[in-house]
Structure formats: C-alpha cells, structure tokens
Symmetry: C2
Subunit: 487 residues, 2 copies
C-alpha cells in the first residue's frame, strides 16, 4: 500500500481491459496494476514483487504446516544436476532435455561435465536416497524441498509459466507399492483440500493419461481448475514413480526377510503458478479478488468525512484497527488526506482486498461502521463493538461465496460430449471442461489435440456419467476423460 504503487500504475496501466474484450490482456493489466509482478530482463522470468510474493508466503505457510502434520520434513538439495544423473532415467531425460539450461563454465574454467539447473529433483534425491537407505528400518523417507526450478519453455506467461519459478517438491521412498500409492493419494488430497478450502478454487481430481503423465512416473494424478476464460490450469500433481528411479539410482534396502529390494518412490509439487490461476479464477473487470485466507491484507479501513472531524475519526479508526490486528486479522488503514475516499474504494477493489471498512463522523456518534464486501458489493452496517466477529464472519462468507461462484462457473462450463466434431463445435461457442469417452490409444488422444487444441486434463475420480464411446474413433471407451484447452 505504499506510494510506490501509484507511480508504477501510471508507468504501466491506466485502465484494465474488460475480460470479455481480451482475457489475456485483462490478466496482464491486472497483475501489473495490482503491482504483483514485473517482467525481468531475462527471457521468460519475472520479478515476484512484494504484493505478489506475500501471497506465495501465505500459501507456503499453510502448505508447509500441512506437510509437517503428515510427517514430512524440509531439506535443501543442490540446484545443479550433473548431466549423467539426468541420463539415468530414460523417460525423464527425454521429457526434460529440451527445457534445460546448462552451466558449462564456472570459476573461470570449462566444466568437465555440464551441469543442468534443476527442472525438478528426482535424480538428485534418487542419488542421495541410494546412499541413505540401507534397511527397511530407514523407511519411509519423507522429505520436501522449497526451491527455485527452471524450465526454459518457448511460451511463457507471468506466474503460470515462467522460465524460473518457485515451488515445493516432495520426494518420498517406501517399502511397498501400497504405501507409496497411499502417500501419492494423500498428497493429492492435501493439494485438493488446500486449493478448495484456502484458495476457494474447485478442482477436478483424477489421473493423467499416459501421454500427459510426468516424465519417469508410473502414474500421475492431478487437480485441474477452470479459469474464467474456460481454459484449464493444472494446479498440482502427485506422482507414483514405482521403482523407475529406484532402479535408475540403485535405491535398495534389505527387507524384513533380509532380501535386497528396490524402494517405491513418489514425488509431488505445486508452484507459484497457483497465484496466476487464483487471479484468473476470481478476478473481474474491476481487478483482483483475493480469497480471504490468502489475502495479504484482508481488511482495509478508510476513515471518511469532512476535514473538521478528521482527527477524531482517525483516532477511532486506529483503535478499531488495533482490535482487528490483535484478533489476527490482516488489516491496514489508509488515512491519507490527499486521496479521496472514492479513489481509495476503487484502488482497494482493484487490489482485491476482501473487506473495506468505512468509518465517518456519523458512525462515530452511532458506534457503527460499514463493511463492504469485495465479492458481492454488499454493504453491512455493524456495531463497532462487534467489529471483530462481524469481520470474521464476513471473511468466511466471502470465502464461501468465492468458492460457490467459481464452482457455478465450472459447473456451467462442464460439457458432456460424444464426438470430436461436437468438441470442436462446442469449443467454437465456449471453452470449458469436456467430458468424453476415450479408447485409451495415444493416437486418438493426439488426434483430439491436433484437431481441437484440447488436451486430456485427467481421468476424473468422480463423474456422474460414464461415457461409453471414444470421441475420436467411436470404438468402445476405456476411460471417461476431461478434455480442455489448457494453460
């Protein structure tokens, strides 16, 4: 809320393009005007500015607590991966090779072996786990890492797909397939719960098709969300890696019968792309709408009224501010005299602050204040004595409204279709999630992608309807799949 923002706004964006006019433009306008990021002078990289980074800090804090509750501990592994490590798992290197940056010189000398900057760390964890794990008594190993990773992709978009990004990557090793699969599903469920109950974003939970799974995984599971332009964002993935990396890196243990066995491993991650998705799910033509649990500022207090009553109103505002702070509510006050209340209302609506509190001279007399909800625009006259409980209740209502709005959007953009032609026609009308049958062949999936631009998002765990015919070849379907155009 510093003066900096003002200047930057002028520099960057005057007005926000309406979503209906150009959704991409709207997105870029909003994230710049709300001062969440700036473009970096390195291809595809961004600066996570304080207002953007703080959202990530709140996400981290909550996820980190959930990981620790379930027995995981954090560690830090090097970002340099020797080329020979990446070569050890065939699918893995094939998948990631095109996107790797390579360090070839360091300390004034050419390196004997090139070092990749990690795109993900299965290989480094694999190498170390092989050293650390000898016996079933050493298992499970449950480690998470918060780190930067790099994928040098052709097309980038702030938050959603940047050359360097921030994420967490969990890597676990287990005695049995069953236990590793349980871990895989447990972490997927943690992600689903977090995204729905913290970011207010409904998701479709399911399994990736073989062509869309993680390079080196046996099975990949994902949560998929829908943006307000009908395109999908993969919000998080959890992988059962089987014994692929265990065999590539010789991660063996002596089991309870004294026999050498390969461990079963998992990995799972979410990234700063969640910030982008959160904006695209909840934002509107006035700007951001931040879900209360992840809003760096949950409440902004604005004293109003004529100059003569100003000092008194500000003094009362400060008292109430302290009460909200003490109750753990992230609150700020904007009592700048040089800006009009109207300007401030627009400003904080644009920044997506969930609740605005207005206090004027009349409210002083009545012991009242006005709460305004960013999501519904509703104004609520409340007693100052009940401010904390009223704010807490409204924050919860706002979270629920945001979730319900997003859920309503998803439901109204969820189409059941039978053929690829139908998919193409529907996509012309309106983008969304398309439920269709699929025979299981790569060829049919590829044909859908080429002809419609839609990719398989996942094979959802819960669907009302099981589709019986493959949308591409009309043969019997093996799976019911959600297709969508995706970021």
């Amino acid at each position: 809320m510093s003066n900096n923002n003002k200047q930057n706004d002028k520099q960057f964006v005057k007005e926000i393009t309406p979503q209906s006019e150009d959704f991409s433009r709207w997105y870029l306008d909003v994230i710049k005007k709300a001062d969440l990021m700036d473009y970096a002078p390195v291809r595809g990289c961004i600066i996570f500015k304080p207002d953007g980074y703080e959202i990530w800090e709140l996400m981290q804090r909550e996820l980190d607590a959930r990981f620790k509750e379930t027995g995981h501990r954090n560690a830090y592994f090097p970002m340099f991966i020797p080329e020979s490590f990446l070569q050890k798992e065939k699918d893995h290197i094939e998948g990631f090779n095109p996107e790797l940056p390579w360090v070839t010189e360091a300390g004034g000398e050419k390196l004997e072996e090139r070092l990749a900057i990690r795109p993900t760390s299965e290989t480094m964890f694999g190498h170390m786990y092989a050293r650390w794990i000898q016996s079933y008594r050493d298992l499970p190993v449950l480690i998470n890492q918060w780190a930067n990773v790099v994928r040098w992709e052709k097309r980038t978009q702030p938050f959603l797909r940047t050359s360097e990004f921030l994420w967490q990557e969990g890597h676990t090793a287990h005695e049995t397939e069953e236990e590793a699969r349980q871990e895989t599903m447990q972490m997927l469920e943690i992600y689903r719960n977090f995204v729905e109950n913290f970011l207010a974003i409904p998701v479709i939970t399911g399994q990736k098709t073989p062509s869309e799974k993680f390079a080196g995984a046996v099975d990949t599971y994902s949560i998929e969300a829908i943006m307000k332009d009908g395109r999908a964002v993969q919000m998080g993935t959890s992988h059962y890696l089987g014994q692929n990396f265990a065999k590539a890196f010789e991660i063996q243990y002596l089991d309870r019968e004294n026999t050498q066995q390969y461990v079963h491993t998992t990995s799972w991650g979410v990234s700063t792309r969640m910030i982008g998705a959160m904006i695209m799910v909840h934002g509107d033509d006035r700007g951001l709408q931040l879900p209360p649990k992840v809003a760096p500022t949950q409440v902004v207090m604005i004293p109003i009224g004529p100059a003569k009553s100003r000092d008194l109103v500000i003094a009362r505002t400060d008292e109430l501010f302290k009460k909200l702070k003490a109750a753990g509510i992230r609150t700020s006050v904007d009592d700048r005299a040089e800006m009009s209340p109207g300007w401030k209302f627009n400003e904080y609506e644009m920044r997506g602050i969930p609740i605005r509190v207005e206090i004027g001279p009349r409210d002083m007399e009545n012991g009242q204040a006005v709460l305004v909800s960013r999501v519904s625009g509703e104004k609520r006259m409340i007693k100052q004595d009940e401010l904390v409980s009223e704010v807490n209740q409204l924050l919860e209502e706002i979270h629920n409204q945001m979730y319900n709005n997003a859920k309503a959007y998803m439901d109204s953009h969820f189409y059941s279709i039978n053929t690829l032609d139908e998919l193409k026609q529907q996509l012309e009308l309106e983008r969304g999630f398309y439920l269709a049958g699929w025979c299981g062949s790569d060829a049919c999936e590829q044909q859908v992608k080429e002809e419609s631009g839609a990719t398989s998002r996942n094979i959802p765990f819960n669907v009302q309807e099981h589709k019986t015919i493959c949308l591409a070849c009309n043969e019997a379907s093996k799976h019911t799949v959600v297709f969508a155009r995706a970021y």
Copy 2:
C-alpha cells in the same frame, strides 16, 4: 530422531575426533554424526538434511519477523544475471568474476549473452529499481529476498563456504546518504542482536577495511565471531553502497526541489554459514550444543526403569509431553525399548538437545522428574507439576550460560599486540583476535596477511584500548583493527 539417523551414523562416523586433536576433523565428524548434512555429488555443494535445515528454518523465522517489523517486505528476483549487468559496476565484477558459474546454453540453443548464476543481486535489483523509482515519493524501497546463491570458490567447507548456499539479501534505496547509512547500521544492529540473543554468540561489531569491503560498496560493516579453534567467522555484513550502483544502473529520482538525483542504496545479508559458526562456537567433544532458541528439539524426554513399570511411565511421559508441546516448547519423546537409556543419553548429548528429561518409576511415585542440562551437565530434580516453568527457566539459563561461555572464550582469546612479529609469535602459541594499530595502507595490511595468515576482521566500534602504532610499519596508526585467521 528417526531410525534413519542410526544407519547413517554407522555409515559415516563411529567416534568424534576430540577438538584438541584436530578441530577440523571434529567439525566434520560432528555435522555428519548429528546428521545435519551430506556431501553432494557436485563440487563444493552439500545437502542440507532435515536436522540441519530445520535450524535454518528457525533462523529464518526469527530474522524474517525482525525484517518485517522494520518495514521490509520480501520479494523474489531471478537468479540469472546477464553478463552485461555485472559489467556495469567495475569493482563488483572484479570482485565476483572469478567465482561465477555461467549458463551458456538453454532450451537446446546457445545463448546470445551468457547468464551468470547470482553470487548476490545488487545488479538485478539495481536494474529493476531504476524502473520502479521516479520520485522521492517512491522512496525508500525496502526489499529483502530469501534465495540460493552461488560462488564457485576453490576451497569449500560444509555450511561455512559452499558453492551453492542459502541466504537473505536485503536491498534498499533511499533519498539521502544519511537515511541509507541509518539503514545500514540498523540492519547491522539487527544481525548483532539476533546472533547474540538468539544464537548465543558474542560478536565484534565494526567496519571493514577498504581491502576487505564488499565489491562495489562505499563502506562495509560486519559482525565477527570467534570459533573454538581461535579462528574468526564473519557472521553477517551490511553495506552502504553510496551511489555506486545508482550511477551504474541509473537509479534516479525527482527530489523535493524537482531535481534529478541518484538514490543511495544499501545491501545486507546473512547466510547458512551461521549454522557452521554456531556449531564451532558451542560444540564440544561430546558433539553439538544447540542454543535453545534455534534447537529444533529443545527437550527430549526419556522414560527409564524396568520393563514391568514401562507402560505406566510411558503414559505419564506422554501426558507431560503434551503439556510441554502445548506451552510451545519443541519436545520429543524417545520411548524405544530396543535402545538403552545410556545409549539415548549419549545420542541426544551428541545431537546437542539442550534439556533431557528423565522419568522413572520412582519419579512417578514422588511426582518428580529429572532435568539434565546439556551445557552444564547439571541434574535438577523438579516437580512434575512445575515442569513447564522449570523447563522454560532452564532453557533461558542454558542460553545465558552458552553465551557467557562463548564470551569468556572470546575474552580470553583477545590479545592486544604492538608489532607484526608479536602477532606471528602469538599465533604460534594460540589463535584468537588480535587488536593492533594500523596506519591505513593496503601495503601494511597485505604484509600482515602474507606473513601471518591473519586478515583484518574489522575496525571495532567499541574498544577499550586505542592502539597508536601500525603493527607493520611502526608509523602512527590511523585505526585500531582486529586481526585474526579467518574461515
């Protein structure tokens, strides 16, 4: 405290080398046996294992709160620095060039411009600040970043000097020199306070000599600690950068008189090397001694006594464990039947847990328990009802004892000397901090370094004695300087 550790100990270290026999060996033994780290398969890099990383998390949490209290906000900038950026500040590139790793290929193509991995980020911040700052109204800018950085150094040592390490780097921009200098000193004071009151390490606060200052700074200030082998570790630095980076990157603002001015900038940082210093200041021949405020486990509870009373004792231990947990004390219980109490006592002493709580069948009857201090070995019989307050009090006592022990060591290894010959003789007897006069010439400082291996640590702010003669040339001294052999 998982079973993993046991296995790793076997793999790595049987016994800890005594400090008096070989301090370096002792250090490497301790950090491996306590499972804080492992060597990575990349030159000079380490894995920060969970028991080591958790210490860093506790340091981060505390420092982050102190940065935020003083108005700083976190952000994240790219780790790739274009070569041309580094070239812009002459001293900066000269200082860092020999240690840079270079990305020369990415995404399957040779890059047009090489990208360095950041050794520090003044240049990237400088470039962005030039875009963000237009007017005095935009100032100050107060941003901190938690990040990984890389310095490809010839000689490395776990935690103290690794190719890749973790740190925070604050970068601020101000209207006036005075304000920037205040910021520089404020952050130095935050570091001093943190290191003394959180890590229980006394430090000498002062200014670096020109030859030892940060590459590109006008003035560098540092806090310097002494290890148990008499060598110094620079624990943190705070730099007043003047207008050096402002001019190199054109960071200009319109001042209150509507004139273009260059900003004044600062930067300041501490890193994971603090973990290594903490171990070398407090550890002993039995292993680690963790300062209570940074110990991931502050209290370990060990039920003792014969098998027949085992279940009852464990049940009571669990009750008390819950009380300690609820009071916010980081506590664990080791009730494994297969390990003897004696084995556990040694194990947790080696791991540096500040307090051990023993509870046996007799204590059940008496409503008592035994607290054992890691630092003094003192045993204290206390009432179970008063466990929480007794533990809190003992934790505070332990912190103070550790600080006092370290202070006593520093004081007894602080020598006032007059000549370089004296310095060389004293260094043969015992290493420590050496207070001496210095005429201010690079040549004399260089001579001291070459002949004694000692470098100037800093020009302390507070000294009892002002030395009047330069130790090298015998001319009148300009500064009273602390010299030491340093890590």
